[in-house]
């Protein structure tokens, strides 16, 4: 009678291969499972982004999600599992803007669009940015393979695109890698250091205004720098 019962709902990826008919990992979740898992991830994003993995507690996440700790652990088998799901989901969308950098387009327009998209992400998904930043500060223990694999490959590819533009004289000759780094830095700064930005600028200027100012400044900077003409 005793049956192998699933300990907690759905693995984040395939774990045991093909116990039943379904070969690949298709969790097959109920309405409640989908809803609750989403609520947990939402709450966990908030907490992990603020305190990092070690600093976050399951109780904290459970309370933020409005449920008891054992209940939360019914939907995710561990704190680690929540974080892993979050990170995985994040990286999927995080690199999208860079992927869209188009070799064929006008270089300055492409770069300007890229900067704007990254800036919009900092504005619209600041917690995701902070989650990522936290992971970096801790030495990226959980995503190092991804950094050295997928991320590096993508950056290499796009750096080559940029280098092509440089060789064609369409943008100035400089280091394409550090160009990409600088765009990441300047845009994510508004999410990661939001508190500081707000403290310095004061509360008067709303977030819309701040981001518009930032976009204008960055456009000026990346186009023509600071040195006055003539």
């Amino acid at each position: 009678m005793r049956e192998e019962l699933v300990q907690s709902i759905g693995p984040e990826a395939a774990e045991s291969p093909a116990v039943k008919a379904a070969a690949s990992a298709e969790p097959r979740r109920t309405r409640i499972q989908i809803e609750k898992r989403e609520r947990i991830l939402e709450a966990a994003l908030e907490v992990f982004a603020m305190h990092g993995f070690r600093g976050a507690t399951i109780d904290q996440i459970a309370e933020a999600a409005g449920m008891s700790k054992p209940n939360l652990l019914y939907y995710f088998r561990s704190k680690e599992a929540i974080h892993e799901t979050l990170i995985q989901r994040l990286l999927e969308t995080w690199l999208q803007p860079l992927r869209e950098l188009d070799e064929v387009g006008d270089p300055m327009t492409e770069l300007r669009s890229y900067i704007r998209r990254k800036l919009e992400m900092a504005r619209d998904f600041p917690r995701e940015s902070r989650l990522f930043a936290n992971e970096m500060l801790q030495g990226a223990p959980r995503i190092m393979p991804l950094l050295e694999g997928e991320l590096r490959a993508l950056v290499d590819e796009k750096a080559e695109v940029i280098r092509g533009w440089m060789k064609a004289g369409r943008i100035v000759r400089t280091d394409p890698y550090h160009l990409i780094f600088s765009i990441w830095a300047t845009t994510q700064h508004y999410a990661d250091f939001d508190v500081q930005v707000r403290a310095v600028l004061g509360p008067d200027r709303g977030s819309e205004g701040r981001f518009e100012d930032a976009a204008r400044f960055l456009e000026q900077l990346y186009l023509d720098g600071l040195r006055p003409k003539a």
Copy 2:
């Protein structure tokens, strides 16, 4: 006979200059106290920078400092006290480069020097940078007053200097606050996201080379941007 004895060594009050007979709180520490406190702060910097305040444990710090936990707590009355000392000491030096921005000097030279100094700090004191970043990510609960006070005042002052340069036509007209933010972002990025930078660039290019490349790129960016001269 029972005397009010000091629970743990000395308040975190900054070591004042050589002036003797200071009326206010002068800890008056032994050689061992000075040494051990320094070792603790060194270890704590490492741990706090990696895991943030909540994620760091006293045991971890004690082990990194090569002493027992009770022994550590003899020199600092709490985890909070260590962190506070670290933050206080950090901020003292952190803003120094900006303070040195000189109204009288040549604007482009001044800005270039500022960028270089900040970049050197990212290279030489990456843990301090990460400690600060962690504090920001957590919403700056411990240094908010300083951000809104001292930091903001300094930035306001220097923004005015920069605006003066703009009005005189010596640098291009743009937002001085976001200019400062962008310098912070691009330079600190090399400390805070060091792991990512390393993963993307590969291990071959040593840190000296990386920082030289970064310096060259930033100089190009801030001087003339990316658009090729027509």
